[in-house]
Amino acid sequence: MDLGINVVEMLIYLVGIIAFAAGNAAYLVWVERKGAAHIQRRTGPKEVGPYGLLQPLADGAKLMSKQLIIPDGVDKPLFMVAPLIAMVPAIMIFVTIPFSDSIIARDINLGLLMIFAFASVNVLALLLGGWASRNKYAVISAARAVSQNVAYEIPMLIIAITIVMVSGSMNLKEIVDFQAGGFWNWNFLPTNGNFLGPITFVLFFICFMAETNRAPFDLGEAESELIAGFHTEYGSMGFGLFFMGEYANIVIGAALTVILFLGGWYCPFGLTDGIWWFLIKMYLLIWTVVLIRWTYPRVTLWSLLNLSWKILIPFSLFNLLASAGLIKILG
């Protein structure tokens, strides 16, 4: 009997996660377009449904009804599998994300580790997609994406280790519970006992944007240089999956930031804790990401790597050592 309930629960979570990922991907595109439009003093999508709210559905129908074109000379198996690799790990990661005290598909002790493990698979999709396309622009883009991801995974992991050290667990739920109470207990504030909190938070946020290939770090799809980068040759749902994977990754990055630094589902004032606080914090972060995309010009590959190796890694290493020292001294 126990098993039966477990299976039903798992199915519900599976469907819920896929729906959440897909719905977010679709509506974040709407947010992005509408937000960009209003930042630029335009109106954005407005014809399909009220405020253009049905636009994502129309886009989806259009993408799905398009013919899947496989250009001559591509490496067919890799070409077909790359969009899947972009999407599947993104959905897998949602399994361990605690949306609230009770809403979590699988409470794994090494949740954080699992997220990073699956997050690094994402770069494989870009590499394969770019490589298999047999397009020079796509290959350049794939090479860029890989060097970028390698450079940013290091500081990101170092920062994650810092947080693990501070809270003493790799279980995401316990990391959130560590920050219970009020906003003064959150990891991103120095009041939590770790005076380097704000810096850690900013570093992690930058790494998260670089990891998800978001502007201003979207070197892989720099349209003025590489047309559309690794997905130049993709159309139809192949492109759609890449797109959804990208937005799912943004949601994951924001969710992870909320878990690690902003106290998860806890209310800033210690009242009415619950999933809504998690979502509010997450969408605020996502809005910041959208705003950043529509404000800055793109960095070059060199300054991107410089930022990682010359600023982020030294800072995060120093941060790690200082946090370790603080924990030792303060007990």
Partner: protein, 146 residues
């Protein structure tokens, strides 16, 4: 080493200033015009394709078919045909064709026209998939204006 930290600080500040500007603009009203639903009134000097001026007194055009517009047209898109008719001193206009596909709207025909018989129309919603739609018979157009 001090330069390293001041660079980071000033850089971060410039990024935050940029963000505050775009966030401010976000709350302002859009400046665009929702074209198919609203459209602008053209200014009096707007240059659409040319048309024959309707004379208020006689109710017809003022063209004397001198052909100066035809001769002066850089793109050769105007064809004027006049005929000698009984009892009329000047030539009578029988055809005034404009090939708008070639016209560059320089306005030299209007400058050349002594009696002021042609003017720019204010039409700008011109779109078609057929080239022939832009061969205008201006005499016919004048009659239809009534």
């Amino acid at each position: 080493m001090a330069g390293y930290f001041t660079n980071i600080l000033s850089g971060t500040k410039s990024l935050l200033v940029g963000l505050s500007i775009t966030q401010r603009e976000f709350f302002k009203k859009p400046v665009t015009l929702q074209y198919p639903w609203e459209s602008l009134e053209m200014t009096p000097r707007y240059r659409g394709h040319i048309q024959l001026v309707k004379d208020g007194e006689t109710g017809t055009h003022k063209c004397i078919s001198c052909g100066l517009c035809d001769k002066g047209c850089p793109s050769g898109c105007i064809t004027v045909k006049g005929e000698k008719q009984e009892g009329v001193k000047v030539k009578v206009l029988v055809r005034y064709d404009l090939d708008f596909t070639k016209c560059s709207l320089c306005g030299q025909c209007i400058d050349n026209c002594k009696p002021g018989a042609i003017e720019f129309s204010k039409e700008y919603n011109l779109a078609s998939t057929r080239k022939e739609d832009f061969y205008y018979d201006l005499l016919k157009r004048l009659k239809e204006q009534k």
